[in-house]
Amino acid sequence: MRSRISQSLSFVLLLAFGLGLAGCGTESSSTGADGGAPASYVPPGEKDNYYLFYSGGHSGNVWVAGLPSLRMIQKIPVFTPAPGMGYGYTKETKEMMGEYTWGDVHHPGLSKTNGRYDGRWLFVNDNANNRIARISLRDFKTKQILGPIPNSMGNHGSSFVTPNTTYVLVATRFSVPLPKGTYAPVETYEENFNGIVSGVKVDSTTGEMSVGWQIKTPPFNWDLGSTGKGPSHGWAFWTSYNTEMAHDSLEINASQRDRDYAAFVNWKRAAEIVANGNAGTRNGVPFIDPAEHEGVMYYVPVSKSPHGIDASPSGRWIVASGKLQPTATVFDFKQVLTAIENKDFQGEFRGVPVINYESIVEGEVPVGQGPLHTQFDGEGNAYTSLYIESSVAKWKLPPWDEATAQDMSKAVVDKISVHYNVGHIVIGGSDTKDPYGEWLVAMNKLSKGRHISVGPSQPETSQLIDISGKEMKMVAEAYTPPEPHFAQVVHKDVINPVEVYEQENNTHPEAVWEQQNTGVKRTGPNEVTAHVIAKRSQYYPDEIEAQVGDTVIIHLTNIEQVSDMIHGFGIAEHNVNAIVDPGETKTMEFTVQKAGVFPFYCTNFCSALHQEMQGYLAVRPQ
C-alpha cells in the first residue's frame, strides 16, 4: 500500500516538474568524430558551445539554435504574435508591435564593444514595414521596435552594427517619393523617387534606439551592407542594384549596366554634420543631402548587380560580390582613403564622387557562379556563398603571392557543394575583429528532396560545415521554417541570461506579490481592473466579475522565482492568452462583448495540478 502511494506520488510530482531541465551536462567536445558520431554531435544532457541566431524572414521572428548541434532551442517573437509566449496578446506587446502583425526579418546584428560581440543586444530589421527591433540577450525578449522609420521604405540593408554599437546602420531597398505619403506617378521614378541610408543611434546604457541621421540617395535599390573597422572604422558599405533606376521589369531593366554602385559612407562625418547643426530635417529626423556635404558619401563601381559586401576582420579588405558576375571583388580600403585624399575620381553621380575603380581594386577572385555573401575565418580565408552553383568557395584574402596575383583562380583553395541554392552563410564572429573560425552554416533556400516529404510547403535547409581543417567538411544538416536569411553566431560564454525575473527587479507598476493585495475592483463606469497572481497551481483571485461593455484590465504576476516555472492565462472565446515567466507581470486589456461565464486557465503546463489551475470570467448582461 505504502509503496503504491509513494509510487503514484512520485508519478504525480514527476509530472509536475517533469518538464524540468537536467542541465548539468559537461562541455561538449565539438572536435573528433569518435565512434562514428559526427563532429557536431552533442549528446543528450550536454550543451552546445555557440548560440546561432537565425533571422526568421517573413515569419517575423528570430530563432535560437545551438551550434554545432543545429538543435532549435527557442523562438524569439519580434514582429509576429506568438501565442506560445503570449506575445502579441498582452497590452505591452500589442503596443510594441503597433498596427502590424508581421515583419520580414533579414539580418540580425549582435551588439559589439571594441569590435567584439558583447552579448548585450541583438538587432533585427523588418524589410516589410521599415522597422528595426532590439532584443535584449539578458532575457531573450524584444524590448523595442523602432519605426516605421521616417523616409525609409524597404528596410533590407540592415542591421549592421558599428564596432561600439554607436549606430545600427540601415538602408532602403525600395525608393518612393519623399516624404512618405507623397504621391508621384511611378513613371517619374528617376526624378521624384529617393532612397536613403540611415544611422540608428543606440543609447550605450539602455540600448534605446532613435534615428541619428539619414542620407538622401538616388533611387538605387540598396542591398546588403557592413560596417568598417581598423582602417575602415567610421565607414559603412552598401551594395546596390538598379543604378539604371528602372521602375518596371527590374529583372531585365535593372540588369543592364556592367557595374552598379556601392556606397561607401563615412558615418562619423554624418554624425558630425548633425552635431554641428548642418543637417536639414525631414519628417522630424536629421536629413543630409550628400551633394551638399563633402566627404560623407562616395560611390564605388562594383561588378554587375552586387549583393553582399563584407569587411574583413582587419577592416582593410572590402569584398563585394556581383551576383551576375562570377567574381568576388576585393577593395583595399587603404587605397580608398588615398583615392579620396587625391580626389582620384572617375566622375560623379548627382554630386557624389565615384571613386576610380582601378585605383582601389586589389583583385577580382573568380569564386564561381552567383556569388552572394562572404564570411571570414580570421585565418586569412574568405568564404563566399555561390547561389547559382549551390556551393561555398573558400579563398585566400590578400596579400597574394605573385603567381596568384597573375592568376586569381589560384586564390580559390576549396569548394564544397550545398543543397541547394545557398543564400547567406555565417561564420561566428565574422563581422568582428576575431572570428571563431570553427564552423560555417550555409542557409540554403531550397531543400527539395532532402527530407521526408511534407508536401508542397517546404522548409529551408541549414548545413553545417566544419572549416577547422584545410578542406571544408559537410557535417550535418537541419531544417527550419521559412526562412532564415542571415544569422549570427556567438560563443555561449559571451551571453549571460537571467532565467528568473527577481522580485526586486520587477518594475511593473501593477505587480502584486501577496495574496492579500490581489482582487477585482470596478475602476470606472465601464472598467474593471483585476490584480491576479499565478503560482503553482492557483490563481488569486480565480473569479473575475464584469458586465457586458466593460473594459477588463488584468495585471497578472507570476510570483514563482524558479527557473522554467512559467504560467499562462488563456480566456475562452476572448482571443486572450498571456504567458508570464517567473517574476514577470503582464497586462491584458480587452472589452467584454458577450454575457456568459468564460473559463480562464493556465495554458503553459506548470505542475501536477496544472489542469486545476483555472478560474472564471463571469460577465453579466447589461
Binding site: R2, I5, S6, L9, S10, V12, L13, L14, A16, F17, G18, L19, G20, L21, A22, G23, C24, K535, R536, E560, Q561, V562, A608, L609, E612
Partner: protein, 208 residues
C-alpha cells in the same frame, strides 16, 4: 587503586593545568564560532532539481539556498502534500539557542580563569545536555512538519520521518541531512573540555 567514584571529589578539587586552560579558551572560541556558522544542512535532490534545493540551519536563522529562494520552493512543493510552510519565525529555538551558546562561551571562559576541574565538569555536562536537547528539538521539528499534514491537501501521503542525519527517499525527492561546520565546532568544543579534564587527571604517582 581506588575506585573512580571514590577519587572523584579529589579530582574535582584539582586545578586545570596551563594547557588545559588554553583548551578551555579554545572551546569558548569554537562555541562563539558556531553561533555564526551553519549547524545543519538539508539538501533535496529530484530529477528536475539536479542542482538540489538547500536549507541551512543556523543557531539564529534559517537560510534557503539560491538566495533564500529554495525555502520558498520547498514550501511551494510541500503545499501539495499539505505540509505547513517552513518559516524561521516558527523556530522559537532560534531565539534562545544563540543566547544559550553565549552563556556557554562565558562559562568556558569562567572555567579557564578559575581553572577548577569541577567547573569544567559542570560546563561539559550542561553543554552535552544542551546539545542533546537541541538535537531533540530538531528531531521534534522535523517530526511535526512531516506528521501534521493538512487532510485537504491535493496529494495524500502517509506521514513520514525525514532523515535527521543521512538520507531518505520521500516521493521523487532524495533528502540528505547532515551537520555543517557549526556542529563540528560544537563537537570540537566538547573534545576540548574533555581534553582539559584529561590533562588535569591525577598524575601517575597517585595511581600507584
Amino acid at each position: 587503586m581506588r575506585l573512580f567514584p571514590q577519587s572523584l571529589p579529589d579530582v574535582l578539587d584539582r586545578r586545570v593545568t596551563g594547557t588545559g586552560r588554553l583548551l578551555l579558551m579554545a572551546g569558548a572560541l569554537l562555541i562563539a564560532g558556531a553561533i555564526v556558522l551553519p549547524l545543519w544542512q538539508i539538501h533535496l535532490v529530484a530529477p528536475q532539481y539536479q542542482e538540489g534545493l538547500d536549507m541551512y540551519i543556523y543557531s539564529h536563522k534559517l537560510v534557503g539556498g539560491n538566495e533564500g529562494q529554495d525555502i520558498t520552493e520547498i514550501n511551494g512543493l510541500n503545499h501539495y502534500i499539505g505540509m505547513q510552510a517552513i518559516q524561521e519565525s516558527d523556530f522559537t529555538e532560534m531565539q534562545w539557542i544563540p543566547f544559550a551558546l553565549g552563556v556557554f562561551v562565558l562559562l568556558a571562559l569562567r572555567a579557564a580563569v578559575f581553572a577548577k576541574v569541577s567547573a569544567v565538569v559542570d560546563l561539559t555536562v550542561l553543554f552535552v545536555y544542551f546539545g542533546a536537547f537541541s538535537m531533540y528539538r530538531f528531531y521534534y521539528r522535523l517530526y511535526t512538519y512531516s506528521h501534521t499534514l493538512d487532510p485537504r491537501a491535493p496529494v495524500d501521503i502517509d506521514p513520514f520521518m525525514p532523515a535527521l542525519i543521512g538520507k531518505n527517499q520521500i516521493a521523487n525527492f532524495t533528502q540528505y541531512s547532515f551537520p555543517r561546520e557549526g556542529s563540528a565546532l560544537l563537537l570540537l568544543a566538547i573534545v576540548c573540555f574533555v581534553g582539559a579534564m584529561w590533562l588535569s587527571r591525577p598524575a601517575h604517582t597517585s595511581e600507584a
